[in-house]
């Protein structure tokens, strides 16, 4: 038996595929922004907050990083309604992805924050910087530069991992692909195209993230010296 590939049917559904890819991108960007904001707060409290709070944050990070994303998603979407908290599928997906990302990002940021030499922070104190200014200018900015490659990788993982939210009926790229292949029975064609779209999106994201790194951290800095990579 020889399978005959029929890619024509894929092009017929191009608008749906584009809509799915667009939703995937929006979910990834939204979760990245929300997750990173939460992680910046958590990473700060994790390193400088009161002891009991630090323990809570450690527990949160370990919970997120040691339970399957799918299960976290099911808890938000299927279990919370029993407690009277109802999110629709898109909201549940964004919330789940943000929380999941914040767990990993907190740990990544913590490593960056701890890599900032103590003497620089002390220098900030002796120059009369406020606690917030020290955190913003002396800790977070260099820490972000240190961990930027790790965060960028994590973003790509986040975008690819968003395929899981199709399980709670979100029509992102994988959800669209699953519905299309199940109604047209052209599984191979649609999965090949899905692979290509994800690959393209991941590579574009990496190029873009590289450009952003350059724009934020390298632009206008003298070559070599403290800012050398």
């Amino acid at each position: 038996m020889k399978y005959v590939f029929q890619f024509g049917i894929v092009w017929d559904h191009l608008p749906q595929l584009a809509a799915g890819a667009w939703l995937t991108l929006r979910l990834a960007l939204g979760a990245f922004a929300l997750g990173l904001a939460l992680a910046l707060l958590l990473a700060y409290l994790r390193t400088a907050g009161p002891k009991p709070l630090r323990a809570v944050i450690v527990a949160y990070v370990e919970f997120i990083r040691n339970t399957p994303f799918l299960v976290q998603l099911f808890i938000i979407y299927f279990s919370l309604p029993a407690a009277g908290v109802r999110f629709d599928a898109g909201e549940a997906a964004l919330l789940g992805m943000s929380l999941n990302f914040s767990g990993y990002a907190t740990e990544i940021l913590r490593s960056g924050i701890e890599a900032v030499p103590r003497s620089q922070i002390e220098a900030g104190h002796s120059l009369g910087f406020s606690q917030l200014d020290i955190y913003r200018h002396i800790i977070v900015f260099p820490a972000l530069q240190t961990v930027y490659p790790a965060l960028a990788s994590q973003f790509v993982l986040l975008m690819l991992g968003s395929s899981i939210v199709s399980a709670i009926s979100v029509n992102e790229l994988t959800g669209i692909i699953n519905t299309l292949q199940s109604t047209t029975f052209r599984a191979f064609e649609f999965y090949f195209v899905a692979t290509a779209i994800y690959l393209l999106m991941a590579l574009c994201a990496r190029l873009l993230l590289d450009a952003i790194y350059w724009w934020i951290f390298r632009r206008g800095r003298p070559a070599g010296g403290a800012w050398a990579r």
Partner: protein, 277 residues
């Protein structure tokens, strides 16, 4: 990462996809390994003494996992009966609903026996044996949701499972304004209905009964019957030897009452007269 890395990555990725396509193509071309003499899949099954059948285990009462995590259900029992009648061992190839036909086409299973209803769309990709069971597709939902006919679905959120008969039936009869959402397996669809994430859901009457029995508080009831359909075993296009055996097998087991017995045991409903395909 610098620009060169990315270009190399892109090139590698593109090559990877091409290789994947080529590999899948050749794998499909080779499977099932054609016998050198007349016949094919049927001869191979008898020679290897092993029949590989799809087993969807998230779709009561057709396929479930029993307390020992072993496949059970009417379609599993039907598949076992087929293996017994062939005099071979059975290998259950676990699949999700949407994987039933892809698993068959990819050669992972020799025959799909997973409550596959006979439809035009499916008949374009696989060959159906005569039906060995019947099922009704209903819209089910909590008592408080007011739906009496298809027209009442307007403005409601209706859950469906991908690659099922309900997916092939409900969207066509739903009025404009119906919000249809899709899940990958019937367990997720049921859960969405019980937790109120959807107003109602399309599923087989058996599935609706099973979810209603297990969640008495949710007060699940059948709103209306969308369609009654017949399901059958399916084989890859071209496997006429296996298909002819299945025709004979359905004929014999329909006449000796074995099919009706299996159906009654798992669904607690008497099997209707099966039409001839």
């Amino acid at each position: 990462m610098n620009r060169r890395d990315i270009l190399i990555g892109a090139a590698t990725g593109a090559a990877g996809i091409a290789a994947l396509a080529a590999a899948a193509d050749s794998a499909l071309a080779q499977q099932p390994a054609p016998a050198p003499v007349a016949g094919g899949t049927l001869d191979r099954i008898i020679k290897e003494k092993k029949l590989r059948v799809t087993a969807e285990v998230t779709s009561p009462p057709f396929g479930i996992l029993d307390r020992n995590n072993q496949p059970d259900g009417s379609e599993i029992e039907t598949a076992r009966q087929l293996a017994r009648d062939l005099g071979v061992e059975i290998e259950h190839v676990q699949v999700t609903g949407p994987q039933r036909i892809p698993a068959l086409l990819a050669g992972r299973a020799d025959v799909a026996i997973s409550s596959l209803s006979i439809t035009f769309d499916r008949a374009k990709t696989v060959m159906f044996a005569p039906p060995h069971g019947a099922l009704s597709i209903v819209i089910a939902g909590p008592k408080k949701v007011r739906i009496r006919s298809a027209a009442d679905m307007a403005g409601k959120k209706i859950g469906l499972t991908r690659a099922t008969l309900e997916e092939a039936t409900i969207p066509g009869m739903a009025p404009p304004g119906t919000n249809i959402v899709y899940f990958d397996d019937i367990a997720a669809t049921m859960q969405a209905m019980v937790s109120g994430q959807v107003d109602a859901a399309g599923m087989s009457a058996f599935a609706a009964k099973s979810v209603g029995d297990r969640n008495p508080k949710a007060e699940i009831e059948n709103k209306f019957t969308a369609r009654t359909a017949f399901y059958a075993a399916a084989v890859r296009p071209g496997d006429f030897d296996l298909l002819q055996f299945l025709r004979t097998w359905v004929f014999l087991n329909r006449n000796n009452g074995v099919l009706a017995q299996i159906y009654k045991k798992y669904t607690e409903v008497a099997l209707v007269d099966l039409p001839v395909l």
